[in-house]
Amino acid sequence: MTDTAPDGQYDALLDAIEDGEGYYVECANGHGWLPPRRVCPECGSRELAETPLPGAGEVLTHTTVAVATPQFSEDAPYVTAIAAFGPVNVTGLLRGIEPGDVEVGMSVGVEVGERETTGDRAIVLRAR
């Protein structure tokens, strides 16, 4: 990562997750998204409310990546998964479980971790 400036609301979200105050934005029709969003891409609503992320999410799909990019070479093999936290889906590194034991439907929490290769922050899904 050569960027030195933070990435606005992405880094602000990670700060909030680290403080145990993760959130997403939700429109009046219940569509949920991670920030930054100024408009709901589903229904066009511009009334988006910051809403606390539920404490537990459910894994929807996952993969164990064996061939990684250079930025993840020392992390590999690692698990990337998508989990549903209420109406918002979160993609993260899934940790706290052996890759072979990961199952669709398992319960995960969300936290911020470090990438082993670069030390950069990453969204981590933690097996519960």
């Binding site: 990435d7 799909t61 990546v65 993609t91």
Partner: protein
């Protein structure tokens, strides 16, 4: 409407040409298409050019004028970027310009140099077709993204790694007689299942190779073709494009590709055809599972039903609907920015009877080309027909 014609096509061999510059690759393909077309190069009015990772692979932005110059053209030139659908998007814009009457002769093409930056570099460069903040930083790779889709597909509809292996075997078989293909090697289902895992459930043989190459076509108005008595029997009769949310997590479906559904509906409507009219297809099989999703979006199969098509032989040259006779991205190779036009080139050759599979395929009159970007946040579909 008078539909634009394909007057000439050109390809470089697809493969590992690490030491060849992008401009040299494009020049080879571009000059081949001009020669094939019989069009006076002075009549070419613009270049529509597709390329994805030129900044990363060659530290070269602003590539389109460079490529026009490489084929000896002093014309306006613009690069189109839609990840792996870059040159599909370029074809679409060229077709629209020709239909509007604003142009009579256009060169459309694509080029990608990838092997010079190695497997790790190419994996990195390909990954940026995903959402940087919320996918790449969570370890998403290009194979990883399709692995997430494959797992969802298996869970929702059924299917197995063995079903996917049959797709790889079929496309390798199709590539055997294709002198432009990168992987001209017969493989077995056992080979595919025994290959190293890239991102489970996908293995090495589920993935297209990393490829250098270029592709071009000379597209002309029907009026120009007639005035110059060109031998250009194939027309682009339908074009469509669709879009979807960038990040897989933000999609309604992980095991369907609505962008390609939309592109298909538009292209079929444009051409006045339906899926039953199609004789042959080139689809975007960057991974084996992607061929399944493409066949369902193109309406050849209902969602959940294309997974067994290759295993049943339906999509082989000897089957009812030959798919990826060129070998597809899987075996022909996938120089990403060149793929969309290369698919059009392959269809044109089949419709003109210039395929080693001519005997098996018989008289094909209608073909479609399906080109997808990222995890199908972009898709283009083109219908080509023999019109004279």
């Amino acid at each position: 409407m008078m539909q634009p014609r394909v007057a000439g096509v050109g390809l470089t061999p697809f493969g590992k040409h690490s030491e060849r510059t992008g401009r040299d690759l494009f020049a080879e393909a571009g000059l081949a298409a001009l020669d094939d077309s019989g069009v006076d190069p002075d009549d070419v009015e613009a270049l529509y050019y597709g390329n994805f990772m030129g900044e990363l692979a060659e530290h070269q932005g602003h590539q389109a004028p460079l490529m026009a110059e490489a084929v000896g053209l002093d014309v306006p030139a613009t690069r189109y970027e839609a990840a792996c659908a870059s040159s599909g998007a370029a074809v679409r814009e060229a077709v629209r310009a020709l239909r509007s009457g604003e142009a009579d002769v256009l060169l459309v093409g694509g080029e990608e140099r990838m092997t010079n930056i190695g497997t790790a570099g190419a994996t990195d460069a390909l990954s940026i077709a995903a959402d940087d903040l919320y996918e790449i930083r969570a370890g998403m790779t290009f194979p990883g993204a399709y692995a997430l889709m494959a797992r969802s597909y298996f869970r929702e509809y059924g299917g197995s790694r063995e079903d996917l292996a049959h797709i790889a075997v079929k496309n390798h078989d199709h590539a055997l007689p294709n002198e432009y293909a990168q992987l001209r090697k017969e493989i077995s289902v056992e080979d595919a299942l025994g290959a190293p895992t890239v991102a489970d459930p996908l293995g090495l043989y589920d993935a297209c190779p990393i490829t250098d190459g270029a592709s071009t076509a000379v597209l002309v108005s029907a009026d120009y073709a007639e005035r110059h008595d060109l031998d250009a029997p194939v027309a682009v009769t339908g074009t469509g494009q669709g879009g979807d949310r960038m990040a897989l997590a933000d999609r309604k479906y992980f095991a369907r590709t609505p962008a390609a559904d939309d592109a298909t509906a538009e292209a079929y409507d444009d051409a006045g055809i339906g899926p039953d009219d199609v004789d042959v297809a080139e689809v975007h099989d960057c991974f084996t599972i992607a061929e399944v999703l493409a066949l369902e979006s193109l309406g050849f199969y209902e969602p959940g039903e294309a997974i067994t098509a290759a295993r049943e032989g339906e999509t082989h040259a000897t089957g009812d609907l030959p798919v990826n006779l060129s070998g597809g991205l899987k075996a022909k190779g996938h120089p990403v920015g060149a793929t969309g036009v290369a698919q059009v080139v392959s269809i044109v050759k089949v419709l003109q009877g210039q395929t080693s599979w001519a005997e098996e395929v018989g008289d094909a009159r209608v073909g479609v080309a399906h080109n997808a970007g990222g995890t199908v946040a972009s898709a283009t579909v083109h219908v080509l027909e023999v019109v004279e």
